[in-house]
C-alpha cells in the first residue's frame, strides 16, 4: 500500500469535500446579468411611475402605473385626474392582471380541426384582407366603445374599405340615461353628478357606489358629503327591491317593487311640485319649459304611482318630509338592475326630480356634449344579429367585447355567428366569442399599447405602454390599418401612434404623456328643462314569460358585465353583500325560501322563457318576497379562472350567467333592458357549498361596528367605554356599562408606549366606518401590493382566504341568539330595515399583541416603531399566533401558494419589495412596511423625519371614500391623530381585551332620525 503522507491526505480531503459540496449544489446555475447599457429612467430597486388610463370600464379613470425594472407591478389612481383623484376601485386595482394572464393569446390564431392553431401575422392579415375585399358590403365591426383615436381608425377603415359599418356594443351601456337626459334637458349626453355638496342623496337602484356612471368619483363625493362636521353630513335614502351594496349604506331603505323606482321618483316629483307650486325647492322657478312639467304633472296620480312602485303611503310621506327638509337633495337614476322597458322614462323621472329639487347645475350637471364614444342603440345590435342570421354578413370583426357571452341566448347570436363566413376577433384574452372565431388577431394589452380615452368633456387621457408586448400581438389600430392596406384600400399614412399624436397636436405631447393626458374637465353649461319632458310615461312594468317571481339581474360589484370574471382577484374577493365568491347564487327572501321548502345552499332550478339554470339558494331578508336576484358576470365556459378550466374541467361554466335567462328586449329609446322576465323556481334536492367568508351578520352586541346617532354626534356625547378615556385619569368610569368589562383592568391607550420610547414613530391608522362603502377596493389594492396569493374556490370554501384586509358586514347591534347552526347565513336583514355596518378588519398592530407572546420562535415580534413584525423565514408554522389573534387577521399558507397560484406570467406582477411566502408560514398585514421603509430611507437621505402623509398604505391610497388615514401617532399634529381624536365616534375594536390596537375606528353615524341611542349594547 503506497504511503499516504500528510500533504496527500490533505489534498484528498480537500478534493472529496469539494466534490461533495459541489454535488450538493444541484440547482442550475443562474447568472444575474446586469444592464450593459443601463436604460434611462431605470434604477434597479427604484420604482418608476407612468401615467396611463384604466380601460376596465368606460369611466376611464386616470392611472399611475408603478413599474420596477421595466415591469408594471401595481396600479394606483392618478391624483391629478379629475374623475378619480388618486383613488381606484377594486377592478381598477387588478386590471394589470390581464397583462400577465394565462388566458392571453400568444400570437395570431386560426381555427382548424383541433380548435385554434397558429398562423403568422402576415398570413392572417392577408386572409382577412382578402375576405374584406371580396365582400366589403358584408363586413361589419362589432365591439365595445373605444378611445377617440381608435374610433377614428375604425371609421377610416370602414370608409376606405367600403365596409358596411360599425356597431358599438356595450352590455352595461347607459343608453336609457342618455335618452332620458335628452328627454328632460334636450341634450342626449351622460349627465354628471356631484354629490359632494349634497345633504340628502336619493338612490333609485342606481348602485352609484359600485357601478353607476362613475363609482369612484361618486363614492369620493359621497364620503365628502357625509363629513360629520358639515351639519352631520348627508343622509342616503335608497329605493329598490333588494338591499344592494349601495343600499346597505343607506340611512333608510324603501323597498320598492322591482322596476318601481321610476314611479316612485315621479310620485316624489309630483309631491315636491305640488308643495312648491311649480317652483323648485330652492325658491327659484325651474329653468326651462314650465308647460312641459305642468302638462306632465297634471296627468299624474300619486296613489296610482305609489301602487305601481309598491311603496306604502306612510313610507312615502316620511320620504317627502325628508326631501322637503333637505337643502341640497340629489337623486340618482336607476342602473342596470332596474332597466325595464320603462328604463328611459324611469331615468327621466329621476332627472326631473333633480330639477324640481333644485339640484340642476349644482349636484346635477348636463355637459354640452358627450366626448366619449357611446354604444349604438341596442336595436342596431339586434338588427346586425338579424343580418347575420339572414347571411348578409360575411366578415365580422369583433373588438373589446364578448357578445357570445353577453347577449341573451334568446337573441340567437350563437346561431347567427355560425352563419358568418369569417369571424375575426381582436381579443387579447380568451373568451367565448374569440374561441368561436375563425381568426384571432390579438391586440396588445392595455399596458403594452398606446391609446387614449375621452370620458368627459375636457379630459383626453392617454394610455401609454409600460412594458414591451409579452406576446406576439399587434395594436388593434395597426392591425386594422394593415388589413385595409392589404385589401388595397386607401388609408392614410402612418401608424396608430402617429394618429394618436396628431390628436394632441398643439399641445406638449411629452408633457401630456407625463401627466396622463389633458385633464382639465370642462364645466358643464347651464341646462334647462325641455318641453319633451311631458313624454315621460312610467307605465306598469311588463315582464316576459310566466312564473311567480320577478328576476332581477344586478351587476356584480367586481365582475361587472362579466369581463372581469377572468381576473382571479375579482373572483376571490367576496361579494360585499353576500360575502360569497367564485360562483353564482340565487338571492331569495327568507320567507319565500320557507314557502319553497329550500334552505341555504340548496340547489334550485330557475326557469324563464329564455332558459333555465341551476344554482344554490342564498336566503336573505333584504329582498322583496316576489323577487329573486342573480348577479351578472359568472357563467363563462372559457378561461382559466372565469370557467372551471383552471380546475381541470375545460368547457364547464363557473356559476351561471343570468343573461341566459333574460329576454332579448330593448326599451322605447333603444336601450337594452335587464329587468324583463319572470321566473319560476323549483327545488332540485341537491346541495352546493357556497364559498362564504362570513356566515353570520350578527355581531352579538360585541360593538365590533357600533353606530352613534346623529343627535349624539351633534351634542358631542355618546362616549363608549373606550380605553382612550381611561387614559385621561380622574375620569370616573364603570357604572352603567354592562359590556362585561371592569374598566379598572383596562390600561390607558397610549400609542407612545406601544413603541420603543426612543423611536420617533408609532404607526397608526384610523378608519371611518361611516365613510366606508364596503366596495372592496382596499382589499384588491392589498392583494396586488403584497403579492397575496389566490386560493381558489376550494380554498375559499374552507375559509382559507389569504386577504390581509377584509370587510366585515354586520346588521344592527346583533343579539346573542344564534351561532348554533352548522350552516348559518346572514339573516338579520329585513325588508325596509337598514342598519348595515361595514367594518374593514386588518391587523390592528396591537401595542400589547396576543400573537407576539405565544410564538415560540420569535417569528412575530414588536418593532421599535410599534408594528407587529412578521419574519417569514423564521416561522415554523405552529399557528399559535393565529389562534391567539383576537381579530383573526392572520393567514396561513396551507399550500405552496407562492409557487402554484400564479399561472401564466402572473408571478411577474409581484412586488419585488414584498417577499412571497413559503408553504407552512403565517402572514398578515404589515401596514405596508415596505412603503414605510422606502419613506424612511428617503427621509434619512434628506436628513429629516418622515413627513405626515408621506407614507400611504395601499388600502388608504386607493380608498375611493378616503375612509382611511395613516400616520405617526407620536406626531400629535398628524392627520391620523387628529382624526382619531374624536371623543364621540372613536373606538377600538374589542377594546375590552386590552390589546391596545393601533387602529382607531370612527363609528358609523346613524342618520335615520331615530333618537334611540344605538351605540350601547
Amino acid at each position: 500500500m503506497p504511503e499516504l503522507d500528510r500533504r496527500d491526505f490533505l489534498k484528498l480531503v480537500g478534493a472529496t469535500t469539494g466534490a461533495a459540496a459541489a454535488a450538493g449544489c444541484s440547482d442550475p446555475v443562474e447568472n444575474l446579468i446586469p444592464y450593459v447599457i443601463q436604460p434611462e429612467e431605470v434604477t434597479p430597486g427604484i420604482a418608476v411611475d407612468y401615467a396611463s388610463t384604466c380601460l376596465e370600464c368606460p369611466v376611464a379613470c386616470g392611472l399611475h402605473v408603478t413599474t420596477r425594472e421595466g415591469r408594471p407591478i401595481k396600479l394606483e389612481g392618478n391624483p391629478d385626474h379629475p374623475t378619480n383623484q388618486g383613488a381606484l376601485c377594486a377592478r381598477g386595482q387588478v386590471g394589470l392582471g390581464r397583462t400577465y394572464h394565462p388566458d392571453r393569446y400568444e400570437g395570431p390564431k386560426v381555427s382548424g380541426s383541433n380548435g385554434l392553431g397558429d398562423i403568422s401575422w402576415q398570413d392572417a392579415t392577408a386572409k382577412v384582407a382578402a375576405k374584406v375585399k371580396a365582400s366589403p358590403g358584408g363586413t361589419w365591426i362589432l365591439g365595445g366603445p373605444v378611445g377617440p383615436t381608435l374610433a377614428g381608425v375604425m371609421d377610416e377603415f370602414v370608409q376606405a374599405t367600403g365596409a358596411a359599418g360599425r356597431v358599438v356594443y356595450d352590455p352595461f351601456d347607459h343608453a336609457a340615461l342618455r335618452a332620458a337626459t335628452g328627454l328632460v334637458f334636450g341634450r342626449e349626453v351622460e349627465p354628471e353628478f356631484d354629490l359632494s355638496g349634497a345633504d340628502l342623496v336619493l338612490d333609485f337602484s342606481s348602485d352609484f357606489l359600485d357601478q353607476g356612471t362613475s363609482p369612484v368619483a361618486h363614492a369620493m363625493q359621497f364620503a365628502q358629503a357625509k363629513d360629520v362636521a358639515n351639519h352631520g353630513g348627508a343622509a342616503l335614502v335608497s329605493v329598490g327591491p333588494r338591499l344592494s351594496m349601495t343600499a346597505s349604506k343607506a340611512d333608510k331603505w324603501i323597498p320598492s317593487a322591482a322596476g318601481g323606482e321610476g314611479a316612485l321618483a315621479l310620485a316624489l316629483a309630483l309631491a315636491v311640485y305640488n308643495k312648491s307650486g311649480g317652483a323648485h325647492k330652492k325658491g327659484g322657478s325651474v329653468a326651462g319649459d314650465a308647460r312641459g312639467v305642468s302638462d306632465l304633472m297634471s296627468g299624474l296620480n300619486q296613489g296610482q304611482l305609489l301602487k305601481q312602485a309598491g311603496v306604502d303611503s306612510h313610507d312615502f310621506d316620511a320620504l317627502v318630509d325628508k326631501v322637503l327638509h333637505a337643502k341640497h337633495a340629489v337623486a340618482l337614476p336607476p342602473g342596470i338592475s332596474a332597466a325595464s322597458q320603462n328604463a328611459t322614462s324611469d331615468a327621466a323621472a329621476v332627472l326631473l326630480l333633480n330639477a324640481l329639487l333644485g339640484a340642476l347645475d349644482s349636484q346635477l350637471k348636463i355637459p354640452a356634449e358627450d366626448t366619449a364614444e357611446r354604444a349604438s342603440s341596442y336595436n342596431d345590435v339586434q338588427k346586425l344579429v338579424a343580418d347575420m342570421q339572414a347571411g348578409r354578413v360575411d366578415v365580422l370583426l369583433i373588438n373589446d367585447s364578448n357578445p357570445l357571452y353577453s347577449l341573451p341566448a334568446s337573441s340567437g347570436f350563437a346561431d347567427a355567428l355560425a352563419k358568418v363566413d369569417t369571424v375575426v376577433s381582436f381579443a387579447t384574452m380568451k373568451d367565448e366569442t374569440a374561441e368561436a372565431a375563425g381568426l384571432v388577431l390579438p391586440d396588445h394589452d392595455a399596458f403594452e399599447s398606446w391609446g387614449d380615452a375621452s370620458p368627459r368633456a375636457g379630459v383626453h387621457s392617454i394610455v401609454q405602454p409600460t412594458i414591451r408586448p409579452l406576446h406576439d400581438t399587434q395594436a388593434l389600430g395597426d392591425t386594422l390599418l394593415a388589413i385595409a392596406r392589404e385589401a388595397g384600400a386607401s388609408v392614410g399614412e402612418g401608424s396608430f401612434l402617429d394618429r394618436l399624436k396628431t390628436g394632441f397636436m398643439g399641445t406638449d405631447w411629452r408633457q401630456a404623456v407625463a401627466n396622463g393626458g389633458l385633464l382639465d374637465a370642462a364645466e358643464a353649461p347651464a341646462a334647462e328643462v325641455a318641453a319633451t319632458v311631458s313624454q315621460i310615461n312610467v307605465a306598469p312594468v311588463e315582464l316576459a314569460g310566466s312564473g311567480e317571481y320577478t328576476l332581477v339581474a344586478y351587476p356584480h360589484t367586481f365582475l361587472g358585465d362579466g369581463s372581469a370574471a377572468a381576473l382571479p382577484w375579482m373572483q376571490e374577493i367576496p361579494d360585499p353583500v353576500a360575502r360569497a365568491s367564485w360562483l353564482s347564487w340565487l338571492e331569495v327572501n327568507d320567507k319565500t325560501c320557507e314557502k319553497l321548502g329550500v334552505d341555504y345552499g340548496e340547489v334550485v332550478e330557475v326557469s324563464t322563457a329564455g332558459g333555465s339554470v341551476k344554482l344554490p339558494v342564498y336566503p336573505r331578508g333584504g329582498i322583496q318576497e316576489d323577487v329573486i336576484a342573480i348577479a351578472t358576470g359568472q357563467g363563462h365556459t372559457v378561461g382559466h379562472y372565469a370557467s372551471l378550466e383552471g380546475d381541470g374541467r375545460p368547457g364547464v361554466a363557473r356559476g351561471v350567467s343570468v343573461i341566459s335567462l333574460l329576454a332579448d328586449m330593448a326599451d322605447g329609446s333603444g336601450a337594452r333592458t335587464w329587468l324583463n322576465t319572470r321566473a319560476s323556481v323549483s327545488a332540485s334536492g341537491e346541495y352546493q357549498r357556497i364559498p362564504l367568508t362570513q356566515f353570520t351578520d350578527n355581531q352579538r352586541e360585541r360593538e365590533l361596528a357600533p353606530t352613534v346617532s346623529l343627535a349624539a354626534v351633534a351634542a358631542g356625547e355618546g362616549h363608549l367605554a373606550d380605553p382612550k378615556d381611561a387614559g385621561h385619569g380622574g375620569d370616573e368610569h364603570g357604572d352603567g356599562h354592562d359590556d362585561g368589562g371592569h374598566h379598572a383592568f383596562i390600561l390607558p391607550f397610549d400609542p407612545a408606549n406601544d413603541a420603543d420610547p426612543e423611536s420617533e414613530y408609532r404607526w397608526a391608522m384610523s378608519i371611518d366606518n361611516d365613510k366606508c362603502s364596503g366596495c372592496g377596493a382596499c382589499v384588491a389594492a392589498c392583494y396586488t401590493e403584497n403579492n397575496i396569493p389566490i386560493v381558489g374556490e376550494e380554498g375559499m370554501a374552507m375559509h382559507r382566504e389569504t386577504s390581509w384586509i377584509r370587510i366585515e358586514r354586520y346588521v344592527d347591534e346583533g343579539d346573542r341568539s344564534d351561532g348554533l347552526e352548522r350552516r348559518p347565513h346572514p339573516d338579520r336583514e329585513d325588508l325596509g330595515k337598514t342598519d348595515v355596518r361595514y367594518a374593514p378588519m386588518l391587523c390592528q398592530q396591537c401595542g400589547a399583541a396576543p400573537c407576539e407572546a405565544v410564538c415560540p420562535v420569535i417569528a412575530t415580534y414588536h418593532s421599535p416603531d410599534g408594528l407587529n413584525g412578521m419574519i417569514y423565514n423564521r416561522c415554523v408554522g405552529t399557528r399559535y399566533c393565529a389562534n391567539n389573534c383576537v381579530y383573526k387577521v392572520r393567514r396561513f399558507n396551507y399550500w405552496d401558494y407562492s409557487r402554484d397560484s400564479w399561472p401564466g406570467n402572473l408571478n411577474l406582477m409581484h412586488n419585488p419589495d414584498v417577499t412571497t411566502r413559503q408553504q407552512g408560514v403565517m402572514e398578515k398585514c404589515t401596514f405596508c412596511v415596505q412603503r414605510i421603509h422606502a419613506a424612511r430611507q428617503k427621509a434619512k437621505d434628506e436628513g429629516r423625519p418622515i413627513a405626515d402623509g408621506e407614507v400611504k398604505t395601499a388600502c388608504q391610497q386607493t380608498c375611493p371614500s378616503q375612509a382611511i388615514e395613516f400616520g405617526n401617532a407620536k406626531d400629535k399634529k398628524s392627520k391620523v391623530v387628529e382624526t382619531a381624536h374624536d371623543e364621540t365616534r372613536a373606538y377600538h375594536s374589542l377594546h375590552i381585551l386590552n390589546t391596545r390596537p393601533a387602529i382607531t375606528y370612527l363609528k358609523q353615524v346613524d342618520r335615520s332620525g331615530s333618537d334611540d341611542e344605538r351605540s350601547h349594547g
Partner: protein, 454 residues
C-alpha cells in the same frame, strides 16, 4: 452463568421454586416463540404506520392543506391527538413513581405495562407537534441552541415550555423504565440464547443480583420516583398552559392545569386497562395481574372521573359567573352549537358511565371494565376535541367564525398513531417482561411471609 434471579431479596432465600415459577410464567411471554396472531397484529400495526408515514410525506411535501384546517380553527386533530397521547402517558409514571412513594404494593403487577405504555405514548405524542407544524424541516428552530445567526427562542411562549416539559418527561420516563428493566433483562439474558442473549447481556448492564446492586437499584428507583413525581403533575400542567395562557374564550381558564392532570390520570388508567386486560388474558397472567389490581385501578378511575366532572361543571359555572359574553357564548355553543355531539360524548363517556364503578360487582367485572375503559378513552379524545375545536371555531369576531371537519389525511395520521403505539407495545411484549418479575416476586414473597393478607 449466573443463577436465574437466585439472589432475589435476601430476606427470604427459601422461596426459590415460587420465584422460578414467576420467571417461567412471565418469561414465557417472551420465550415461547412468535405466534401467527402476534405476527398478524404486528403486520397490521406496521401497515397502519406505513400509511400514516405516506400521508405525512405527502403533507410535508405539498403542505398542510391536506389537513382539514379551516380558519379560524388553526389547531385541530393533530393537537387533539397530541394532548390525548400525552395524557395517556401519565398513568405509567403515576403508577411507577407516585404509587411507589405511597408504597401502594398493588402497583407492582401493573407498573411495567403502565411504564411501557407511558414511554410509547410519549414517543407517539412527541411526534404530533412536529406533524402539526407548517414547516417540519425547520423544527430545530424550536430548540434553543447557540448559532451564528443569533437566533433564539421565545421563552414567553407556552409552546416552548411544552417542548421542554415533553422532552424532560420523555427522558425521565425512559430512564425510569429502563432502570426498572435491568434485573429483568438479566433474567431474560439467562433464559435466552444466541443473538437475543447477546442483546440482553448488553441491556442487563452486567446485573448479577448482588445485594450491593440491589441496594443501588432500589435507591435509584426511589430517587427517580422523587424526580418523576413532580413531572407527572408538571407535564400536563404545561400542556394545559398551551391553552390556558392564551386569550381564546374556552381556553383562558385557571382551572386548566389540575383539570388536565386529572383528565390525564383518568385517561391513562383507562388505557392501562384497555391494554392490560387482553394481554393478561392472552398470556395467562391472571395469577400476577389479579382482579384486585383492576379493581384498584377502577377506584382511581372513579375518583378522577369525578374530578373531571367537577372541572367540566366548574368551567360552565365560571363562564356564566364571569358575565363575559365571549366565554358564555363559547360554552353555550359547546353544549348546543355545531359541535354538541362531541361535547355530549365527552360528558357521557367521562362522567356518566364511570359512575357505574360505584358498584363493586361492576368494578370486578373485567369485560365490563374493558368496554368502559374503551369508552373513557374515546371520551377523553373528545374532551380535547371539544376544548380545542369548539373554542377556536367561535372566538371574538363573529365575522371570522368557521367550522372544521377532520380531513382524510388527519384521520389517517390519527389511525397511524394508534398503530405506531401498538407496534411498540407488541414488539415490547416479545422484547421485555411485561410484568416486573423481581417486584412481583417481592410481593409474593412478602405475602408468603405475612400470611397472604394484602
Amino acid at each position: 452463568m449466573t443463577p436465574p434471579a437466585a439472589a432475589a431479596p435476601p430476606m427470604n432465600a427459601g422461596a426459590v421454586p415460587q420465584d422460578s415459577q414467576a420467571n417461567v410464567d412471565i418469561m414465557n411471554v417472551i420465550t415461547r416463540g412468535v405466534s401467527a396472531p402476534w405476527l398478524i397484529i404486528l403486520g397490521l400495526a406496521l401497515l397502519g404506520v406505513a400509511q400514516a408515514v405516506g400521508t405525512l410525506a405527502y403533507q410535508t411535501y405539498y403542505g398542510l392543506g391536506v389537513a382539514g384546517y379551516q380558519a379560524p380553527v388553526f389547531w385541530a386533530v393533530y393537537i387533539v391527538t397530541f394532548v390525548f397521547w400525552i395524557g395517556i402517558g401519565h398513568a405509567g409514571t403515576l403508577i411507577s413513581a407516585i404509587l411507589f412513594l405511597f408504597r401502594a404494593k398493588w402497583r407492582n403487577a401493573i407498573n411495567r405495562g403502565a411504564e411501557a405504555m407511558t414511554v410509547f405514548a410519549v414517543l407517539t405524542a412527541a411526534l404530533f407537534p412536529l406533524i402539526h407544524i407548517g414547516r417540519l424541516w425547520k423544527f430545530y428552530f424550536l430548540i434553543p441552541y447557540p448559532n451564528q445567526r443569533g437566533l433564539w427562542v421565545n421563552f414567553k411562549s407556552p409552546l416552548l415550555w411544552d417542548v421542554f416539559a415533553v422532552n424532560t418527561y420523555m427522558t425521565i420516563s425512559i430512564v425510569f423504565f429502563f432502570v426498572g428493566l435491568i434485573p429483568d433483562f438479566a433474567i431474560a439474558r439467562d433464559r435466552t440464547t444466541g443473538v437475543r442473549k447477546f442483546i440482553y447481556t448488553i441491556l442487563a448492564l452486567g446485573w448479577q443480583g448482588k445485594s450491593a446492586q440491589w441496594k443501588a437499584h432500589n435507591r435509584t428507583v426511589l430517587h427517580l420516583s422523587g424526580l418523576a413525581t413532580p413531572l407527572v403533575l408538571s407535564v400536563h400542567s404545561v400542556v394545559s398552559w398551551d391553552f390556558a395562557m392564551s386569550i381564546v374564550p374556552g381556553w383562558h381558564a385557571t382551572i386548566f392545569a389540575p383539570y388536565f392532570v386529572a383528565g390525564a390520570v383518568f385517561g391513562g388508567f383507562a388505557m392501562v386497562m384497555v391494554v392490560m386486560i387482553p394481554v393478561r388474558r392472552i398470556y395467562g397472567l391472571e395469577e400476577y395481574i389479579t382482579d384486585y389490581h383492576f379493581e384498584n385501578m377502577s377506584r382511581f378511575i372513579l375518583l378522577t372521573a369525578n374530578i373531571c366532572g367537577y372541572a367540566y361543571a366548574m368551567e360552565y359555572f365560571i363562564a356564566w359567573y364571569s358575565m363575559v359574553e365571549f366565554e358564555q357564548t363559547s360554552f353555550y355553543l359547546r353544549a348546543f352549537g355545531p359541535y354538541w355531539f362531541s361535547t355530549w360524548c365527552m360528558i357521557i363517556f367521562n362522567v356518566v358511565f364511570p359512575q357505574l364503578l360505584w358498584f363493586k360487582k361492576l368494578r370486578t367485572n373485567i369485560p365490563f371494565l374493558f368496554v368502559l375503559c374503551f369508552f373513557i378513552n374515546l371520551g377523553m379524545w373528545f374532551e380535547r376535541y371539544v376544548i380545542i375545536i369548539t373554542s377556536l371555531s367561535r372566538e371574538f369576531i363573529p365575522a371570522a367564525w368557521g367550522l372544521y371537519i377532520p380531513s382524510a389525511a388527519e384521520l389517517s395520521v390519527l389511525a397511524g398513531s394508534f398503530c405506531w403505539f401498538s407496534m411498540f407495545f407488541i414488539l415490547f411484549l416479545k422484547g421485555g417482561p411485561i410484568i416486573a418479575i423481581a417486584e412481583v416476586k417481592e410481593i409474593t414473597i412478602h405475602e408468603k411471609a405475612h400470611g397472604g393478607a394484602h
